[in-house]
Subunit: 369 residues, 4 copies
Amino acid sequence: MIGRAAVLNKFNAPLELKSFEAPASLEPGAALVRVTMAGICGTDVHLWRGELPVQLPIILGHETAGVIAGLGPGLERDWSGQPLRVGDRVTWTSTISCGRCFYCAEKKQPTRCPHRRAYGIGYPSTDAPHFLGGYADLHFLRPGTNIFRIPETLSTEAVIGAGCALITAIHGLERTRIDWQDTVVIQGAGPVGIAAAAVARHSGAGKVIVIGAPAARLEMARQFGADHVINIDELKSAEERVAAVRALTGGYGADAVIECVGHPSAIAEGWEMCRDGAKYCVLGHYCNAGSIQLNPHVITRKQLQVIGSWSSEPRHMRMALDFLDRFRAQFPFERMVSHRFDLDQANEALQTTANWAATKCVFVPGRQA
Amino acid sequence: MIGRAAVLNKFNAPLELKSFEAPASLEPGAALVRVTMAGICGTDVHLWRGELPVQLPIILGHETAGVIAGLGPGLERDWSGQPLRVGDRVTWTSTISCGRCFYCAEKKQPTRCPHRRAYGIGYPSTDAPHFLGGYADLHFLRPGTNIFRIPETLSTEAVIGAGCALITAIHGLERTRIDWQDTVVIQGAGPVGIAAAAVARHSGAGKVIVIGAPAARLEMARQFGADHVINIDELKSAEERVAAVRALTGGYGADAVIECVGHPSAIAEGWEMCRDGAKYCVLGHYCNAGSIQLNPHVITRKQLQVIGSWSSEPRHMRMALDFLDRFRAQFPFERMVSHRFDLDQANEALQTTANWAATKCVFVPGRQA
Amino acid sequence: MIGRAAVLNKFNAPLELKSFEAPASLEPGAALVRVTMAGICGTDVHLWRGELPVQLPIILGHETAGVIAGLGPGLERDWSGQPLRVGDRVTWTSTISCGRCFYCAEKKQPTRCPHRRAYGIGYPSTDAPHFLGGYADLHFLRPGTNIFRIPETLSTEAVIGAGCALITAIHGLERTRIDWQDTVVIQGAGPVGIAAAAVARHSGAGKVIVIGAPAARLEMARQFGADHVINIDELKSAEERVAAVRALTGGYGADAVIECVGHPSAIAEGWEMCRDGAKYCVLGHYCNAGSIQLNPHVITRKQLQVIGSWSSEPRHMRMALDFLDRFRAQFPFERMVSHRFDLDQANEALQTTANWAATKCVFVPGRQA
Amino acid sequence: MIGRAAVLNKFNAPLELKSFEAPASLEPGAALVRVTMAGICGTDVHLWRGELPVQLPIILGHETAGVIAGLGPGLERDWSGQPLRVGDRVTWTSTISCGRCFYCAEKKQPTRCPHRRAYGIGYPSTDAPHFLGGYADLHFLRPGTNIFRIPETLSTEAVIGAGCALITAIHGLERTRIDWQDTVVIQGAGPVGIAAAAVARHSGAGKVIVIGAPAARLEMARQFGADHVINIDELKSAEERVAAVRALTGGYGADAVIECVGHPSAIAEGWEMCRDGAKYCVLGHYCNAGSIQLNPHVITRKQLQVIGSWSSEPRHMRMALDFLDRFRAQFPFERMVSHRFDLDQANEALQTTANWAATKCVFVPGRQA
């Protein structure tokens, strides 16, 4: 079987549409999937620009869903133990942790497994089986991939609309452990921020405040659970925004603040939004955006807990799919998908994402332009 | 009754020995104590230099023990419910939280009670009852003070040798919650660092590593539980010290790092000493020592928990006295007391502390010089 | 001022309507409230029947709201720091913990404070100020009572409809700490069970299953968050009910089970409804209903956590009022109030509660019959 | 290679010494070990008596150490990543969890993995490779076995003297999470009880109280960390023992109680030894010893946490070996080994264990009688 893929050969240059031959036969535990939808994540823009240390060429795309076209011997069940068959609609985690190393087995930190490599980021497209990223007609799933059958009642749009933002937010909120009726501030109204608002809203938060821009994203944040929004185009200084949060929290500051911005300047501002004894989750710094002046005395004096959270585990994907399926009326993540592209429109798709012109761009391979 | 006190009238100037009249009668719930020993804390040096925002004149001293000279009506039991009588040997917490405010009652963060004022820091010596700091012959205990009878088997030297360093360390380790057999790094070999080593050693740490100087303090750290020490006079660069910690931790870094230094530069170095998923306690930044360049990406990528801990609660004093009494053979805190002074030697005492020439200076009022 | 009260003089006998004189002047910190609504709790039925060790005569009623008629000197703010004035609509916790004992101060278990006495249970009506229970025209609030001003947007019906069931459920769920998307089984569809369903639904549960009867209560449970209900009049054996839970949980059992029944036989059945590693909260055994055969091997083998939760703390009342006010559209607790009575109908009111004929009976003093 | 094994063919009958042929070649990931010491656990006595549902014939023994005689292809490192070579001294966990099932991957409860089978319990001796239990000259390690190289400074006697009792205790205490300076009661002075005393002592307990018999075991408990012991031959009633615990805990009861007895009657007694808000760990009920009358009201009223803990995970073995090696001076587990037997003395060895005549019996295959 032959399929197309949009290949990143050179940073800051247009992606190139190439054709590859899929493996004629599948090794034990592997699968071949026909891609039906692949999300474009903000990280893809960083990768495109060469801001992360990766080796080219690669096929981008680490948020993908499709239909099983072939199953290798012995691959009979998905991660949750559901039977798998050709024709099933599935998604999967972009990484595989080894399960046996110091971080996996001893410290229960599988997201820090040194053997993890991510589809769409860590595999060269030159070598067979080639199809190891989502911007393609086909996707090869290596043995051990954490595959999840998508429930019939759940749309592919919702799964990809939620994308890796939702599982990132679920992990971050899990590590933060908010208390019931807590006031939660979300810094940032991108996909992770909106997903974090939804998860906070559904985790028993009393009040959810989202800070960001532009207005359309804040409106989306409201639909996904924000009780209050603060527009950074209107409140332009950190002081004003901190004052706004204090006004919404009886003068004390929030019980928890989730940083989903990715710019180091958000941190000091966020600490000021915390009440004493609050929790602060550094969730948006997946990429290294450099250092900034910070005062550690604030952590001591305010008795803060500052919590990092990196990527997610397969069980967060399980929770995400359950959540999306059970609460789709309240949290309609399919609405996040604002722009659809075929593979030959890859550059336009990346550009649209880079411009913040969309809530979420996706590929629908074979789609009529 | 008349008593002497060493009064701080002016920053950076010699303390002045003054005499005050103690209250002729005690209000309900109050007590008067004849001071037998008062510790000099590093914070006192900061106060002396005017590095903390306090109003003068004050009587310094927030680590104090003495003998009850008088009890106001209704004061019949100590914090733990033990009967109190004139002549009892006691110590007390330097602060009183209100028990009813947002932080005390709702958020269970009594160390952040806005109504707290500390003996030896927050009370002017000009107003009766004057004796509200430890550098004095007498100490007045306001109604509501958390008083603890010292067990007969426990020496006053051990209580003051441990001082506020021990209760600070107990609180910090409690918030950090190390796991059994964890490797714990302590940055700093001052009183808090040594106390943190003792508490970590007694909390199930597998390996305790103390980093600091000079050699004499590191030797003391060994006596109090350090398995390994790293001398910053020998390993002068952060890189060398991080490498030394990694060499002691299978290349991964420590499970928990407790900062007991107070200089912002320790933070970035400490984060590098953490394994992924580790806990980092910012314990030494009671004073505001300013900002420094820090990279929040490290918190996300290494999935750290950075935990602040401020001062301590009365129950930590209870734990401290139990610990000192039960395990005095293993942790002989009385040995920390290296220099004794009468009140008229207050400047010499402060200078000796400031010079790092002592492990612990104390006042023994009325002592023959 | 003179007011009426329904007094319990003798177990199993009709309550007697009596008139008492309210205090002419109020001591510092005290208040006098004109009762506008008082809930009848299932515990009141147990008290009436003499199943709890109390001394008569008492005025029953520990879930009460009213309007401030008088404030003693110094009582200027409610528990949350809001200003208090005559005419304010308020509610309060039925007990006061001392804040200084071993359980309050050292072990942070204020619900186990030995000095707690409850309005409506622990005070004789014979002694002034008499009005220390809710079944009355007036209620005296002793100094130190935890008073909460009711937000303007929140109805008194919602507060009393939620009653002590809601704060009990909030405490129980807090101690149980369910994880996000957990499946939660609630055993029992009385007021505590329905409140527990609401709190579980709002705490991020993935699936809430309520087991009880009759059908009307299960319908109410559905309105308050149950995704599935199991009617014990239909599934009459424990085996059938356990099988039903397993069928709803992929064969494994629930992540958390909350017992809100009060009959010891529920426990063994509930343990069977747990998946391995689950949490089981014994919430319904406020009264001593005796012993039953239980197999401790089940706790070891299934690696259960069995968690007790007693009564509630003032901060749970704070959370409850916030929750009721913020989420009143989704959780309309005012609908729980099904029957209203004047004080002279006290026996009818108790009988209606005892018969399980109502979801919630309340007194509205002075109401036209 | 041919080796002997003591085979359990029939319950309550003498074990039979048989010879088997070891595999001529080893499959990838497998290993063959020459047994140097095999512990006899109390569970083996239960197995011998047919009190657990197992299929015969089996080779008993699930606490084993030996020297590597052969390594299958690809087996190059132990569980912790240390290189493995023929001649290395090793031990291993008796079970292998699958790592991918609902309990392993989703609920992080690998001890409840349904695919676990234990060496010495779950494998028939009739089928090759036969040597799947410790009472033998040789032991086959299946691919995936969690193998641990024993540090050079740690004796085999200490490892087997600690046996599965220590890892069981480590897991139980981990789940119980005692607080620093807690008073911990251990019910039972068998191997698990003594190990629990050691772990509690080394986890920051303030006071450790061990309850059991006979006097020799209590003396051993003192050596391993008990501050107080209560002899059940002297205090024969539960009431007396509860009173003794209360006398040692200021009248309140203990902060944590660890049940290491295995008889259901211990539970109600243990609950009475708990202070309100305490933790109670049901650790001794690995075998099903039946039901008993228990009152769930006690759990609610005392606000207990009753925690089950089943078996242990590989990381507990890692902790155990670290602990034994680092703290061997303070906790000399090699002294637990009181009786040594060759394989042809298997019945005598089991009988000695059953009679409680030994602290620990072990096999030393080939030992001169």
